[in-house]
């Protein structure tokens, strides 16, 4: 266990693994997302109540799902940063916060556009929508705090604490549709029950969710590589990346 844990914290080891994983993540992600979206847009039957506007679900749910998942992953990484001071955990938080910000924005935007024909309004200050807006501000706050502190170690600690404080928002988002009266419909996927929609609707939705997860994996690897290169550019192993290719010839 310990050698593995130690390896996992090594930026050099991660850099190599990421290089090998990335083509798979990108190709499989694009295939799944493409299949899910084409199926959802053109082939899935229309909703008897909402008509065709419900087709927004195939991007709204995956991006909202990912936006919350990324925050939970960031919070787990923040614990690792605070307890074990593992550099790679901080690299993860820094690299993925902007991805979370973009996905939260997409879910809010598509939700508003979906709300207009369905509820008759772009926005209401209801629990689900407000807690998602807070998530957007949390992502923005994490990015801003990280940029405001020059010292790498202090920034890592401060960001980790902010991420952990903000994690209370996640259960609020999840249970907001059960705790309060809301216009928002309840969860589409539950672990314990069969989906309430027919398979021609939930299979493409699941494909889009998986596809977006894989693309997030690709983005995380890519952006972590960038951050690792910036931090470790003076180390032997980074310079060896180029010597191995050029030095021999």
């Amino acid at each position: 266990m310990w050698p593995f844990f130690h390896k996992l914290g090594s930026p050099k080891w991660f850099y190599g693994i990421a290089t090998r994983l990335m083509p798979w993540l990108l190709v499989l992600g694009l295939l799944c997302l493409g299949a899910g979206l084409v199926w959802g847009l053109a082939f899935a039957p229309k909703d008897y109540l909402q008509g065709n506007s419900y087709r927004i679900i195939f991007i709204h749910v995956p991006s909202a799902f990912l936006a919350q998942s990324i925050y939970i992953m960031m919070a787990s990484a923040a614990v690792v940063t605070l307890v074990w001071r593992m550099k790679l955990a901080d690299v993860f938080v820094k690299a993925t916060a902007p991805v979370g910000l973009v996905l939260t924005f997409i879910s809010l935007f598509t939700g508003a556009v979906w709300g207009k024909p369905t509820w008759g309004t772009w926005w209401i200050w209801d629990a689900r929508l407000t807690s998602m807006l807070i998530l957007l501000f949390l992502y923005g706050g994490v990015i801003a705090l990280d940029r405001a502190i020059n010292d790498e170690k202090s920034a890592a600690r401060a960001v980790a604490i902010l991420v952990l404080v903000g994690v209370v928002n996640i259960p609020i988002i999840k249970y907001s549709v059960d705790w309060w009266n809301t216009l928002h419909q309840p969860a589409t996927f539950k672990l314990t029950e069969k989906p309430s929609m027919p398979a021609e609707m939930w299979v493409p939705l699941l494909l889009s969710v998986i596809g977006l997860y894989l693309l997030f994996g690709w983005l995380a690897c890519l952006r972590m590589q960038t951050e690792i290169l910036i931090r470790e550019q003076r180390t032997r192993w980074v310079q060896d990346l180029f010597h191995v290719n050029e030095g021999v010839r």
Binding site: G51, N52, I56, I59, V102, F109, V113, R234, T235, R236
Partner: protein, 82 residues
């Protein structure tokens, strides 16, 4: 196919603008994020390559992995976890 014609597919029975606006924003933002991240990684990689190149032109590359690159750089020390 859930639609009779391509025109019907675009119109989505009046919901077209909502659906296509959502998908448009999704695709544009994801493309910007993915292409932007990819370009930035390559730019950083390029500057590291130049850095490594200028280093090796001044001093010949040490053949051992453990040799420090220059006196000013720090080397990583693996401390036993036991």
């Amino acid at each position: 196919m859930a639609f009779d014609s391509f025109g019907a597919f675009l119109a989505m029975e009046g919901h077209g603008p909502y659906v296509w606006a959502s998908y448009g924003v999704f695709f544009v933002l994801m493309a910007v994020l993915m292409v932007g991240s990819y370009r930035r990684r390559n730019a950083v990689l390029q500057s590291c390559r130049q850095h490594a190149g200028s280093r090796s032109s001044r001093a010949p590359k040490p053949d051992s992995d453990t040799a420090p690159a220059t006196a000013a750089s720090f080397t990583r020390v693996d401390v036993s976890q036991d």
